[in-house]
Each structure stands twice: as structure tokens, then as C-alpha cells.
Amino acid sequence: MNAPSSALPNRWERFRDSYLLYSFKRDIVAQISLVVFIALVAVAVFAPLLSPMNPYDLAQIDILSSELPPFWIEGSDSQYVLGTDAQGRDMLSTILYGARVSLMIGFGAVALQALIGVCFGLLSGYLGGRIDAFLMRLADIQLSFSTLMVAIIVGALVKAIFGGATFSAYAVPLLILIIGLAEWPQYARTVRASVLAEKNKEYVDAARVMGLRSKRIMFRHVLPNTLSPIFVISTVQIANAIISEAALSFLGLGMPETHPSLGSLIKAGFDYIQSGSWWITLIPGAVLVVLVLSINLLGDWLRDVMNPRLYKG
């Protein structure tokens, strides 16, 4: 090959010249959000290495050092930077582990939502007719149940059939299932709308004329053209899933206190807020707000980039 390298940009060069990167470099809010988000994800992922103690290990907990305040308040212990909770667990460690659980449930639930929603949306939009009517009514029915109701029903069923201990042991996959099932119609509707717009384009006819299978046309030709709305709602959905999980845990329907998420930490501290130990609930609350905010701000930026019709004035 004697073609000059500029004629054939590789992936990195394409990315370097892309509008995505261009607009990112000019959006300070998006940059800060991304840094905060990545930092939170990183500390959550590496929580076992970073945290001073393991909050799941009962042997490391000392009830005598419970309700110690964070370092800037008098009476704090230098061993516990952000203080301790009512059971004497180090707040910093529980928050790191809790963020890990929250993010895991958030991403897992969104992956499940996307899987169900994208498949149903594609089938519904591309095949149309009765399949479309059936799947969309199913989505309507699903949306008429709130996430809370689904959680209560599934939680009650699992607790009744397998007992509370089983529920605690499988809380993470169960919450992923609950939040995933409750929110898939968002994806299905968005994907269906884009598919309806895409399927009348000539490249779909051309693919059919080539003799390709419907399945292949759906997943390889139509789906990639509907990716930008999927990316945009994914950011919103991750933030929503994390909030849903926190809400469920706060209501006692989610993660048990022995294996806390940010939501169950807030709940655990809520009982002590009257007695002056505000940090047990406020610090995990603040972490939750920062996490969700950074995801939402990133989502806003992504929506502006991916939808050229929505120029900011």
C-alpha cells in the first residue's frame, strides 16, 4: 500500500477528529462531570483496596467506637476519617462499598432494561402488526405498575417462598431484576420510535433486496442507526436506576444493612439524625447526589451532541 496514511484514518484518528471530542473539549460542565463520575466509579471498583476496613467483616467492627464524628469535628478518631455509624463501622469504608453496590445495581439494571427493551422495541417496530400491538400493550401494563409495586411483589414472593435470609443473600441480582423489569418500556418505546423512522429508509429495502434475513437486518442494519437515542436514555436510566435502588433500600425493600448500598446507609443513619449523628445519613446522601448529578449532566451533554436538531441558542 502506497496510500498516504491520511487517506485512511484509523479508529483513534476518527475519534480525535470527531464532533464528540470537539464538543467535549469545549464543555467544562461535561469535563467536570466525567472526572467526578470516573473518580467515583474508580473508588467504588477499587473499594476493597482503598478502604481502611472491611465493613462486611464483623470481626473488624467495634461497637465501642460507634457514632464517632468525622475528622473536622471535635471528638473524632483519626482512624475514622469520616466517622463511624451506629454499629461502629468506618463511614468511609461503608460509603466506598455502598457506592460499589449502588453502581453495580444501577449498571446491571440498565443492562437488563436495555436488553429487554431493545429486543422488544426492534421486534415491535420492525415487524409491526400484531406483535407490535402485543408488545406495546405489555409495555403499557408494565408502566402502570410502579417500580415500588414490582419490588414489593417480587420481594414478598421471594421472602415468602425462600425466606428472608435468601432474599438478603441474593439482594443484588433481585434488585437488578426488579428495576430492570420495571423500566424496560422506556427503552422499548424509544427504540420502536427510531425503528419506525429507520425502516422506511432505502437502505433497509436494499438489505432486503440483497436477500438478508430479517434478524440480520434488524440487528446489524437498523439497530446501529438507533444507537444515539439509546445512549442518551441510558445515562438517564442509570441515574434513575441508582435512585430507584436508593429509594427501595431506604424503604427497607432493598439492600440489607449488613451489605449496605448508599440507600440503605442513608436509611440506617436516618434514625440517628435526631440524636445529632447527622453524618451517618448526610455523607452517603451527598455522595449519592454527586453521583446522580454527574451522570445526569453527562447525559445532558450527550443529548446535545447526539441530537443536532437541539442546538442550544
Partner: protein, 343 residues
């Protein structure tokens, strides 16, 4: 037997107000390596005819009757699985707008290899070699680079060349080209048409060319159909139809060409516009626009408004027109009378 035979094809669209007849009693044949033109105004049913060949009419359209025989096998009514083996493989199609026909998110190479792999069990390396060969055939500069490019990086003419290359990928027997040059500018149009003609000739590929452009039809095709309001109204060798059109509509089309007008005067036109398919006039669908519904002596020809014209043979052409039928009858009568008087 002809390679492709279309008999009494009848296509309808099931709309809320009732069925709309998009094609009525369409008959034609295509021999191996033959080039056939289909001309007519927008809405005459040209594209519907093309799509119905491969049973690809989108709902609410459906084939209500007739048959499409390809290589002796009936394509309509064939299973979707069996049809997929014909589509792209033995009959391929080129669409009007090269901006729209290529998938914007897949590279040229991905789209070409995908088509090959859907029909043949070959390795990526072999498929790439075939793709490169076809790209060379359509005279694309530096084909290796093109394979990794995306449609938006190429010009319209280049994209149409790639679409032709994709249509040729599996060495089909027939290419159906639905207005392949309409979306291109005039200089590119001529290039693309010449390329398509040359490739069809060298590979002995049959071509069904759907177009408005009578000039292109006369240069490229051997036989042609003229369609009006879902019916074929005239068919035969292209040269004869262009030089001596029989049907008043075909005459009108040829007269409407800019080069037929006297310089300095308005262009000729056919008055009125094509009727809606859901509300066709009685008798011959063309009669409200026809200048020949009255005979030369001023008397009315009642059949024009009452009866759908049958095909009559005039030379090598078939024409569906009462006026032409009457003239032919008269000629035949005159001849027989001549024979009677001077035996």
C-alpha cells in the same frame, strides 16, 4: 423459455377505502442478457412492478393475481427462505438515491462482505478479493481504501458505482435498476449509464431499467414497456416504439421531449395529469387526456370511454388503444377489399 416471465400480474394496495389497483394485467418477458426499459410517469406503477418481481411489496400492498416465473420457478408464493436465495444472488436491484441506499453506519467493505456471506460460504479473505474485483470493474480509484470508508466519505457518483458493484457481487442473472441516475447530476448520469450498459454486456446480465428518461431507454435497452395508470399500454422493440410510437400517450411522451419542440416556442406537453389509481376513468384510462377519442371525420369513437382496450399487434409492437385497433381493422378491410376487386 424466457429467463423471466411475468404473466397477468395484478398488484393491489389494501387501503381503508378499499383496494387500489396498482398494477393490472402486466405481462412481459426478459431473455437472458436482454435489456428491457419500463417508462411512464410517476405513479404509473413502474417501481411497484420492480418490487413485485422479488415479492418485496411493502404492506398494505399485495400480489392479488398472476405469476412471476424466473428460470421456470414461480417467485410469488415461494417461501421467504427460497426467495432470499434469489434476492441479491440471482436478481439484484439498484435504487434511485445512492445517498439513501447504503447504510450510513457500516463501512463499504462491511456491506459488500455481508452480501457475499449471506449467499456463499466463503472466507473473509476470499470475499474481500471478490469485492475488490467488483470495485475495480466499476472503475473506482484505489478500491482497497474504499472498503474501509463509510458512505458519507464518498461522492454521489462514487456511491452509485459502489451500489452497482454490490449489485454485481454475486454475478446475478438480472439487475433491476429503478431510476439509477435520477439523483445524480447530468455529467455523472451519462458515465454511470455507460458503465452499467458496459457491465451488463460484458457479463451477459439482463437489465430491467425503470426510468422517466426516454433518451436513456433508447440508448440502453432493446425492448421497452410504456406504462400508464397501472397498465402496460405499449410494448415492443425500443427502436420501433421510439421511431414510430403508436399509442397516443407514447406519442405524447416523445413529443414532450425538449428536442422535439420548435425553438422559441413552448415545449409540447400532454394536457391534464394522470388520474388517481383509486378513481380511474371508464374505458381507456387515458381517454380524458387523449386527442384521438374522436375519429378524423369528427364522429365519436364510443369504445374509448366504455371499454378497456385490448392489445393489438402492430408490426413488432403490441398496443392497447382503440384508435390503433380501428386503423388496423380498416387497413385489413381495405386490403381484403382490394384483393376482392382485383383478384
Amino acid at each position: 423459455m424466457a429467463l423471466l416471465e411475468v404473466n397477468h400480474l395484478d398488484v393491489r394496495f389494501a387501503l381503508r377505502l378499499g383496494d387500489v389497483h396498482a398494477l393490472r394485467d402486466v405481462n412481459f418477458t426478459l431473455e437472458r442478457g436482454e435489456r428491457l426499459g419500463i417508462v411512464g410517469e410517476s405513479g404509473a406503477g413502474k417501481s411497484v412492478a420492480a418490487f413485485s418481481l422479488l415479492n418485496l411489496i411493502a404492506k398494505p400492498g399485495y400480489i392479488a393475481g398472476g405469476e412471476v416465473l424466473f428460470d421456470g420457478k414461480q417467485l410469488n408464493g415461494m417461501s421467504e427462505r427460497a426467495l432470499r436465495k434469489v434476492r441479491g444472488n440471482r436478481i439484484s436491484m439498484i435504487f434511485q438515491d445512492p445517498m439513501m441506499t447504503l447504510n450510513p453506519v457500516l463501512s463499504i467493505g462491511e456491506q459488500m462482505l455481508e452480501c457475499l456471506k449471506a449467499h456463499r460460504r466463503i472466507s473473509t479473505k476470499e470475499a474481500r478479493a471478490i469485492a475488490l474485483d467488483k470495485l475495480r470493474q466499476v472503475q473506482i480509484p484505489s478500491p482497497e481504501t474504499r472498503l474501509d470508508q463509510y458512505p458519507h466519505e464518498l461522492s454521489g457518483g462514487m456511491r452509485q458505482r459502489i451500489i452497482i458493484a454490490i449489485a454485481l457481487l454475486l454475478d446475478p442473472d438480472i439487475i433491476v435498476a429503478d431510476e439509477p441516475t435520477t439523483a445524480l447530476d447530468v455529467t455523472i448520469q451519462a458515465e454511470i449509464m455507460a458503465l452499467l450498459l458496459e457491465l451488463c454486456e460484458t457479463n451477459n446480465v439482463g437489465l430491467i431499467l425503470i426510468t422517466h428518461d426516454l433518451g436513456v431507454v433508447s440508448q440502453v435497452t432493446q425492448r421497452m414497456l410504456v406504462m400508464y395508470a397501472g397498465r402496460v399500454i405499449e410494448q415492443g422493440p425500443t427502436r420501433e416504439i421510439i421511431n414510430d410510437p403508436q399509442h397516443p400517450y407514447t406519442q405524447g411522451l416523445i413529443n414532450a421531449l425538449p428536442q422535439m419542440a420548435t425553438p422559441g416556442e413552448k415545449l409540447n406537453q400532454i394536457r391534464g395529469s394522470m388520474p388517481s389509481l383509486s378513481n380511474l376513468p371508464s374505458g381507456c384510462a387515458f381517454h380524458p387526456r387523449c386527442d384521438f377519442i374522436k375519429r378524423a371525420d369528427g364522429t365519436q369513437r364510443p369504445a374509448c370511454t366504455q371499454q378497456v382496450p385490448e392489445f393489438v399487434t402492430s408490426g413488432n409492437c403490441k398496443v392497447a388503444c382503440h384508435m390503433v385497433a380501428e386503423l388496423l381493422d380498416k387497413e385489413a378491410n381495405d386490403e381484403s377489399r382490394l384483393k376482392e376487386t382485383n383478384p
